[in-house]
């Protein structure tokens, strides 16, 4: 009995390497194959990344710049305690031309399992999104798979995002602003904006805040108590967070006999931070009209990403021989970033005196930016 047991133990040890190799081989094959299918899902992600970056490019590369405009030019109140309230509206005005009206899909990430219409609209055009098909491929042959019973490709067909139809690139916002005089012709301004709007079946949540400080430089070089010409330095910082769900609840969901995206809940998110340094050259025409020109540098960091989870389940009837788990789940599906420093310059006009003033401003910073502000002085400050 003992001899027999020893014999079996020896045999077991002798062949254990073979059993181990078979097990490892089995596991490796399975892991590789799941990885192969996962790579196909990753290809959607990479395509999506390149597509969303292209779709939102005009918005994401300009919104931060426009958000950091509309700061007041003109004479700075000398007195500490001067308090004013403003409503500032600003928007980039981006010309739509042949170069940015459509996205050429051959310039996006390419993959054998994705077929897309050659052209699809950019964000601000009035065209409808082009067709796109995602095919499941056999990892070993890289050929499309079909449903053996019907001959249908194991595919998901949907349309890319429609343009929002403005036909001109705009990044509009209206924001309240409070400005406080600190004395010595120095003023601190703060802005805050929390709101949500519905847009093209989707929803946009925008929140932004920031501030600026401006100081009269020319006072140190002039003895004139009330000069017509002044030079101000403005340093400003703005940041914002925008969440956008394109095409409503249908965004990146495709459910058919072969795929299910149940549980997917995705939003595109966009964050910007901008820092700016500008010099304002102001000329007071009379007590009612003031003109100015301004110029400097503005830096923007713009991050496009996604919030939520993307879930994809492949009908296991078609890949069950090689994959145990046919569910794939991704957080932070998309991510792209733009860092840019550009020269900014423009001019403005201030109208009014006393309690209420209106200001229009034009700035070129990467694109055209127009701003309009209404200002009411609440307190004149200490003498």
């Amino acid at each position: 009995m003992i001899k027999l047991t020893v014999f079996y133990v020896r045999k077991l040890i002798q062949y254990s390497w073979l059993i181990l190799m078979l097990l490892i081989n089995h596991l490796v094959v399975q892991a590789q194959t799941r990885q192969d299918y996962e790579m196909q899902v990753r290809d959607i992600e990479r395509f999506g990344n390149s597509y969303f970056a292209a779709y939102t490019n005009l918005f994401s590369s300009n919104f931060g710049f426009s958000l950091n405009q509309g700061w007041q030019g003109g004479t700075i109140p000398k007195k500490a305690g001067h308090l004013s309230f403003s409503l500032v509206g600003s928007s980039a005005i981006i010309p739509i031309n042949e170069g940015n009206r459509y996205i050429r899909t051959d310039q996006l990430y390419q993959s054998a399992n994705i077929a897309a219409a050659p052209l699809t609209p950019g964000m601000f055009t009035d065209a409808k999104g082009g067709a796109i098909s995602f095919f499941l491929l056999d990892p070993s042959t890289n050929n499309r798979l079909v449903n053996p019973a019907t001959g249908d490709y194991l595919s998901a067909n949907f349309n890319m995002i429609d343009g929002i139809g403005t036909n001109v690139g705009v990044t509009p916002f209206v924001m309240p602003q409070v400005s406080v005089g600190l004395g010595k012709s120095t003023e601190l301004s703060l802005r805050v904006m929390p709101f949500a709007v519905g847009l093209n079946e989707g929803k946009v949540d925008v929140s932004a805040w920031g501030g600026a400080i401006r100081h009269n430089l020319s006072q140190w070089f002039s003895v004139d108590e009330d000069p017509s010409f002044t030079v101000n330095l403005l340093l400003s910082y703005m940041r914002n967070k925008t969440s956008f769900t394109p095409n409503g609840e249908r965004f990146l969901t495709f459910n058919n006999d072969y795929f299910s995206t149940a549980g997917t809940s995705l939003k595109l998110s966009h964050h910007t931070k901008t820092q700016q340094a500008l010099l304002f050259f102001n000329y007071r025409v009379n007590s009612f009209i003031e003109l100015y020109g301004h110029g400097g540098l503005v830096h923007q960091t713009s991050d496009l990403g996604s919030n939520g989870v993307f879930k994809l389940k492949i009908n296991d009837a078609y890949i069950r021989d090689v994959v145990d788990d046919t569910s794939f789940e991704y957080n932070d599906l998309f991510k792209s970033s733009i860092n840019e420093t550009v020269a900014a310059g423009g001019f403005g006009l201030l109208l009014g005196s006393g309690f209420v003033k209106a200001e229009v401003q034009y700035t070129y910073a990467n694109t055209h930016i127009a701003s309009l502000a209404l200002r009411a002085t609440i307190l004149k400050g200490d003498d």
């Binding site: 042949e98 009206r101 459509y102 050429r104 051959d106 390419q110 054998a112 077929a115 897309a116 219409a117 050659p118 052209l119 699809t120 009035d126 065209a127 409808k128 999104g129 082009g130 067709a131 098909s133 095919f135 499941l136 491929l137 056999d138 070993s140 042959t141 890289n142 050929n143 499309r144 798979l145 079909v146 449903n147 053996p148 019973a149 019907t150 001959g151 194991l154 349309n159 139809g165 036909n167 009837a317 078609y318 890949i319 069950r320 021989d321 090689v322």
Partner: protein, 275 residues
């Protein structure tokens, strides 16, 4: 003056409304090098893969501008280019590469997008799909699209002895293949013997059914390996569904295959409507 402003306003309004409406349909204008007109045997563009497969609604160049094809395209259009040379070489399996090769110019006010192929040598080297794609699916070079059913006519062993009537080859011999027009990954329909005697490894493929769909492609450097791809099948069956194409023509295709006893045979396939 007031009237002039009114006319201007209405005009601008009309223009903006017009711009909203246009370009739901665009003209995709494909321009080809001059040499192609003289050298190609067939040149049509289809608005989508389905039309390309069936050979329906194909657009060819008109007599006035023979190097240009104008395809009316909607948002659903993913165009397919069908170019065939007299030797049967074609563009079928290289659509993505063809798409990337074109220089594009958009003129959205006129709702036009131009796709220009300027380098003939590069274009020709991209149009390199095997003539076997045509042979498998069409009856001649001018047929626009469709499918073609093939029967196994004769089977020979490695010594070139005719083994067609031998019992071990009967179930294989009863298989039929219907290839649909398309490039890499096009559909193929396989039919098993109707008496329920699907043989050996093909039982895994057919189960209770007598007909299954799969996809096919021609692989390898010389595109001589005919691979039929079915989801969720064993490696053994995948191997059995890979054939070497020895020769092909519209009326006959020779392939190597194996039976359930792993014997290698050489089969000649003929179209089902063959005399």
């Amino acid at each position: 003056m007031h009237k002039a402003f009114t006319i201007l306003f209405v005009g601008l309004l009309f223009m903006s409304c017009e711009r909203d409406k246009v370009c739901s349909l665009m003209d995709y204008i494909y321009t080809f090098p001059e040499q192609t007109a003289g050298e190609v045997a067939y040149r049509k563009i289809y608005a989508n893969e389905n039309d390309f497969t069936k050979g329906e609604h194909g657009i060819k160049s008109d007599s006035l501008s023979e190097n240009q094809i104008v395809l009316p395209a909607g948002r659903e259009s993913i165009p397919f280019i069908d170019i065939r040379y007299p030797d049967g070489t074609n563009s079928w399996s290289n659509q993505a590469e063809l798409g990337r090769l074109a220089q594009k110019m958009i003129e959205s006010t006129g709702c036009k997008a131009t796709f220009s192929y300027t380098d003939y040598a590069v274009l020709k080297s991209t149009i390199n799909s095997s003539p076997t794609y045509l042979h498998l699916t069409l009856h001649d070079q001018d047929q626009d699209g469709g499918e073609k059913m093939w029967l196994i006519d004769r089977i020979y062993d490695e010594d070139k002895v005719d083994v067609t009537e031998r019992p071990e080859w009967q179930c294989v011999r009863a298989l039929t293949f219907t290839f649909y027009k398309g490039g890499k990954g096009a559909r193929v329909k396989m039919n098993a013997p109707t008496d329920g005697n699907a043989c050996g490894f093909f039982e895994e493929l057919f189960g209770e059914k007598s007909e299954v769909f799969a996809t096919y492609s021609l692989e390898g450097q010389d595109q001589k390996e005919l691979r039929i791809t079915v989801p969720a099948v064993s490696d053994a069956l995948k191997e059995q569904l890979t054939f070497q194409v020895l020769a092909s023509d519209y009326d006959q295709i020779s392939i190597s295959l194996t039976n359930s006893s792993s014997q290698i045979g050489y089969a000649t396939l003929i179209p089902s409507n063959h005399d």
